[in-house]
Symmetry: C3
Subunit: 133 residues, 3 copies
């Protein structure tokens, strides 16, 4: 199993497109299944189109579904942080993408994004583990 | 890694049961992990019971959580299409199912479904990649 | 592929931390990808922090997003059971975790939990399948 870890800066965006880094990791590899895994309890990974507004639409949807107010038992850090802890149950931090001939088998508009509404920690780690076969 | 691609027609249903096709692909295979991967930015995959109304209940839930109105930045195609682009963040297009002795290890009531509320494109592609071990 | 099945008792909690059992299964194994798979149509798996209230916050969020009332076509068992059947579309019963040197590569606060709001059946089965590489 070939592995690496990405460092992702979320200080400027809550939805960060990491597709190029993920594609770079599998370039030249043989076929296999790639695990993309965010090492945090307040972040998720998703496959969406980017650059046309869906990043903002996703953040607005999550804020509507998991309101950033004082309703949560889990309270510490910034206001709304209890909501951050619910996010990974709906947007999983674990994702598997097939690799064929050293390329991610993504559809035309699919991009890999890290979803992180937590502003308290802007440095995020994402593992990549490719199991070949 | 053994691979194929399914073509799924969503013109009649927004939640399509693809279990039989997926099970047929792994029949006779040895043990391994099967990746089921929808190649679209407006579709997801889920494991639910089918035939008892949950398909419609799921569509109603998604329409409630991600309303099909004009709130989205991502606008093109039919009304509500911005909502379609948020769906795969909550219902992931990537799913892994273990295979033992050529059979999917599903629970009694679990079926594999493609979830696609987007009426603009009724032809959908789903990759199947089996990594044996 | 190395496999086992866990039996999880959900009679006391709707969100059950199964991390220790999962970690025990991969102890001593070589590297690989671990599939964690709940064999039920009304349960899901998630990676969240436990012990600080997020379990309850997640249950409250799910009850808000998928209200336990009579709106569902799928009706049988206890009141709200139609909602239980929608849960696995949002909280998938399929999860993949990388394993390195016989350890789950979880982040500091990540725990593996079974999410099951269905009170009709307190005995749940979770498969573990480790594909080494």
């Amino acid at each position: 199993m070939k592995s690496t870890e990405l460092s992702v800066d979320t200080s400027l965006q809550q939805v960060v497109d990491i597709t190029d880094d993920v594609a770079g990791f599998v370039r030249g590899a043989v076929d296999g299944l790639l695990s993309v895994f965010a090492l945090h309890a307040t972040a998720g990974l998703a496959l969406i189109e980017t650059g046309s507004g869906t990043e903002e639409d996703l953040v607005a949807t999550l804020k509507s579904v998991i309101p950033r107010d004082d309703r949560y038992l889990h309270r510490h850090g910034s206001k709304g942080h209890g909501a951050d802890h619910v996010v990974p149950a709906l947007v999983s931090p674990s994702l598997v993408i097939p690799v064929k001939g050293g390329r991610l088998t993504l559809g035309t508009w699919q991009r890999v994004v890290l979803v992180d509404l937590n502003s308290d920690n802007p440095r995020r780690r994402v593992r990549l583990d490719l199991l070949s076969g």
